[in-house]
């Protein structure tokens, strides 16, 4: 999830580490009012937003990592397509604002509901719906050449 937000392997490692340490430090503040997963997502998102703010949304540098297909993704053709499209997809995601990026990551990629995503992002549910809609609109436009 953190990688999907920052699109940088090294930064994702550091932020994952920071998130875990912050969570341990803040465990006393977890009062059971929200699900534990939501609480962790919120810490991760706060940490990630802080990083993106510091970066001032500087251009993302992509790495030419080889595709490591998962078990369910064993088709060579599909893997090749993923490798070819990866820079385009990551460029498209990188152009989204952090809030829109968080909306699409939490819902489309992490599979959370708008209500859960809004709790993590500390915004209203309708606001989250709008952000997801806007993020999808922008991504569809940027990736229109690759969408059926």
């Amino acid at each position: 999830m953190i990688f999907q937000m920052v699109l940088d392997d090294n930064a994702a490692d550091d932020l994952t580490q920071e998130t875990l340490l912050r969570a341990v430090r803040a465990i006393d503040s977890y009062q059971g009012r929200s699900q534990f997963g939501t609480w962790l997502y919120r810490i991760a998102m706060n940490t990630t937003h802080g990083y993106l703010d510091r970066q001032n949304r500087s251009p993302v540098v992509f790495q030419d990592a080889l595709v490591e297909p998962s078990c369910s993704d064993s088709s060579p053709d599909r893997a090749a397509t993923n490798a070819e499209l990866r820079p385009q997809i990551e460029t498209a995601i990188a152009t989204l604002s952090p809030k829109l990026r968080a909306a699409i990551v939490l819902t489309a990629l992490q599979g959370l509901s708008a209500r859960e995503a809004s709790a993590i992002e500390d915004c209203g549910e309708s606001t989250m719906h709008w952000r997801v809609h806007e993020a999808r609109k922008q991504l569809k436009h940027k990736l229109r050449d690759y969408l059926s």
Partner: protein, 294 residues
């Protein structure tokens, strides 16, 4: 929200799958985080093996009177036994739920939050009567500033002090943020020589970064068997008062208590003894340190 997947969803889903972190990377990252939690941020243990929050440093009564504890005293880093178990669970939980980085070819371990910067130089030269290791050069100051900046930012301006030993780093965190960002770096060096004509040989060295008037107490288990208590106060003229109790027990045994007013940047001999023809001295060098803006 995601009930009607379309080709965009498929595209994103395929991309996420291709960027999924590999098991080996996850294990390495989890081990790295545990290592930082265990070693980078030192945790004391009592005799029964349970974690304790207060280092066990016993000060002579006279020395206790010299120290002026602040509100930060006693509020230790809140990583206990349960915390370490939790971090294991968290690492697995977070990685399982995809809160993890992508797999990459050139996997590098995450940068430790407060890594030791390597303190002891291989050789110690005579320099105006003090060992070269007692000098705080620009490179050392830059490294210490970076360590301070990252650690203080990580703990949201609640850092009380860091003791950066030869192989271990101990950290204490207060229970509230402090806006004053002036810290003091005190380098403590124990060196010995067999005659005034030969270079000093560094026996032991530790750097302490603390807020002015914060009491630093580093327990033996945090400092490889030695204990250190230190307090600094910046005087109006710019000099720095340093009270220190050092009990060294790492090959060389030494006990030193001192209360000195130091000029910043100037290595100062705060105590000496001669035994069996070997001169052994404790040196201190102090410099104000400000965390960088990040």
């Amino acid at each position: 929200m995601n009930n009607s997947p379309d080709s965009l969803d498929q595209l994103l889903s395929d991309w996420a799958a291709s960027r999924k972190a590999g098991d080996e990377h996850c294990r390495r990252l989890a081990a790295q985080i545990l290592s930082v939690a265990r070693d980078g941020l030192e945790v004391g243990r009592n005799e029964s093996g349970q974690f304790q929050h207060a280092p066990n440093v016993t000060l002579p009564e006279r020395r206790k009177a010299l120290f002026r504890p602040t509100a930060d005293q006693g509020s230790k880093l809140m990583i206990g036994g349960g915390g370490l178990l939790l971090i294991l669970a968290l690492a697995g939980c977070l990685l399982y739920y995809n809160l993890s980085p992508a797999t990459r070819n050139n996997q590098q371990p995450a940068r430790p939050i407060a890594a030791s910067t390597g303190n002891v130089p291989p050789a110690t030269a005579v320099a105006n009567g003090y060992p070269a290791a007692a000098t705080l050069g620009a490179t050392v100051l830059a490294a210490k500033r970076q360590l301070l900046t990252e650690t203080n930012a990580l703990f949201e301006n609640q850092l009380a002090w860091i003791a950066d030993g030869e192989r271990k780093v101990a950290v204490e965190v207060g229970d509230q943020a402090v806006q004053d960002d002036t810290f003091m770096l005190v380098r403590v060096v124990v060196a010995q020589r067999i005659s005034p004509d030969v270079p000093w040989s560094t026996v032991w060295q530790t750097d302490v970064i603390s807020r002015s008037e914060a009491l630093v107490e580093v327990a033996p288990e945090q400092l490889g068997g030695s204990s250190l208590a230190l307090w600094t106060y910046r005087m109006p003229g710019g000099e720095v008062a340093v009270d220190m109790d050092l009990r060294l027990d790492q090959g060389t045994r030494l006990e030193s208590s001192s209360s000195m007013v130091l000029q910043t940047g100037q290595p100062t001999r705060v105590g000496c003894s001669t035994q069996g023809g070997i001169e052994q001295c404790v040196f201190q060098t102090v410099m104000p340190l400000h965390p960088s803006q990040i």
